[in-house]
Amino acid sequence: MSSNLVGQAPKPMSARKRLFGKERDWPKAALIGGAIAYLFLVLFIPTLNIFIQAFSEGVGPFLDNLTDPAFTHALKLTVLIALIVVPLNTVFGLCAAWAITRHKFPGRAFVISLLDVPFAVSPVVVGLMIVLLYGRNGWFDPLLKATDIKIIFAFPGMVLATAFIAMPFVAREVIPVLEEAGTDQEQAARTLGASDWQIFWRITLPNIRWGLLYGVILTNARAMGEFGAVAVVSGNIARKTQTLTLFVEDAYKQYQTQAAFSAAVLLAGLAAVTLVLKEILEYKTKIREVE
């Protein structure tokens, strides 16, 4: 009886295996098809639509839109904010990542979760918080009035809001890279006579450069694309406190669909550049890992 079973065992097993293999193709195809369809619907068609709308009346009007003073001002403002926020957050993110990975201090876990606050809080709420702090009747209102510094409905407020929103990216990207690199190489450099400053520039930084660059790119993307918080803080005054995203919304609301889509094309272009950079970085990192 038992010897019979053993002898016959392989046949039904392999048959069942084949069956399973075929069955598995079904859900596989369905899942892939579903995912592609969803991507088309949610991502590809809307993006394509932006380009179609922007160029619906030809290239001429599109270029006109790009030379509109309100638009150029918004573009300048967006770039300026990014130029301030990105270096600021990069330095802060590096310091935070270094402190968190290289030191054990009380409240370390708290600092790590604090880094995630900008992810968790809705940008509109962030804008509101800043208004409540620096706006009329806010905590710092007396001080601001006395020194005649304007923050709300002005450039400093927009920088503050963007800095808050784009804060975690560098630290979040650098922490795992720093942890993975460990302290061995830094210690080795010390035994070879390198000072702390030399160790940072020649050992630590080269080791984390790809992670750091990736963090910088994400920070930049977030800073340029930010809408909610900046909308609340800036007051959205054309040619004064209007960033590109605000310009898009404003133009659309005033039925200047074409202008809105033209600006959107530029934003999408910026995003595409960011994406390409990110892909290149990921590819390079992968090559290094394989090495």
Partner: protein, 503 residues
Amino acid sequence: MSVLVKDVSKQFGSFLAVDQVSLEIKSGSLVALLGPSGSGKSTLLRLISGLEVPDSGQIWLTGKEATYQSVQDRNIGFVFQHYALFKHMTIRQNIGFGLEIRKAPKAKIRQRVEELLELVQLQGLGNRFPAQLSGGQRQRVALARALAAEPRVLLLDEPFGALDAKVRKDLRTWLRRLHDEVHVTTIFVTHDQEEAMEVANEIVVMNQGRIEQVGTPAEVYDQPASPFVMSFIGPVNVLPNTTEIFQRNGHRAQAPHSQVFLRPHDVVIQTSPGKDLAPAKVNHVVHLGWEVQVELVLTDDQVVTAHLPRERFNQLQIQPRQRVYIKPKQVKSFSLDYLSGDGYVDQIGSVRGVWLILTDTYSYESALKQALEVAQHSNAALKGVFVIDPEATAEIVNELEDKGWLSSGALPTLQTSLLEGYHTLATNVLEKVQHQAFQAGLAVVETAIAEAPLEDYVRGLLSQRGAVVIVSGAKALVARLGELSRQVEFIEETPRVGQHQRV
């Protein structure tokens, strides 16, 4: 002397990693720090390198104090277990890093890097990145990098730990040869006793943050200073002294419960009964290459492992379950029980030195006689006398000198007295003795301790450390303590003799 470690301690939280360690390493030697994990060997190495700062004690490098000198200024070479090569630099850049930091001229760096590439046999690989090399090659690059700036000391932390067995074996021989060529003082950490024996000229055996023994590979194997060293270096049978094989041939100890250490290759096996031979049954035979391991069960169910050469094994034609007859060729015991009472002198194994504690003047003569006898018997020196009678110190030393027992001024004295009573006094003194004697790798013989708690204390101490303490006249002291306690202030003088272990 190239490296001097003086009473160094290091604590991590509540864990005492290095406990009052003193060590002296001669210039140009190749030393292994050997011990199980957690024995403090790596921490000691990192303390020497400056990567850790000691809580107390001093570290000297090539005759200069370096205790608080920064790692950067110490000019040491350090090799890490996982290589720690700079991943983003080529092999050449890695090796040249130290020289570049020191702002050496470019041409000189280039020349030195080529020299080192040749030394570690990696010519032609200079432009590769670390990730493109094998583990063994990477470790050789790490070595070249550490040697580039001509360090005062080369320190290696488990250098072969991450490599596979074959490569490890090759690298060991290679390191040995490299040291013959370069001659830089080298200290390496390992938990592998075979590796330590093969590579080093001196082995420092560590356990629980302390040094157990310092000696050549032959010394630590043939004359282990403690049960720990005996069992850590090479295989050993640990048997109660009541075991039949010891009863039959005079190795029998006098007190019960003490342990006897027997190396597997010191077991003599014969197929026919005879004088001194105890019957045993063969349980198991394992072929280890040129040696054969035989597991034997004695009539009292004690299991003994024996190693014998293949030739001898073939001669005897031993089969499992066969009855054979065995005897020990040589045994070792470290127990206090083994040594106490009359005739103990005959049974002392290896004693590296004797320290005498005199608690009063009445009995010093006989105590000293005993101490000298022990010392003579075991070819060790009487290394120190502790006198715990402050009033009589000078007197005793003078008398000892007059009688020709002491060479003038050669022996340090320790004067001490405590105000709390006998136990505290004795315990404190013993702690000091333990401390200094162990630091110096000495043994001390105990004879006349009557009080039970103290005896337990010494017993515990001996079972851990394998040391022997002589204390004389303890009882007489008790009577005199009352009057002494009020008059005497605590005086301590650290002995200078035998303070550091010489390597």
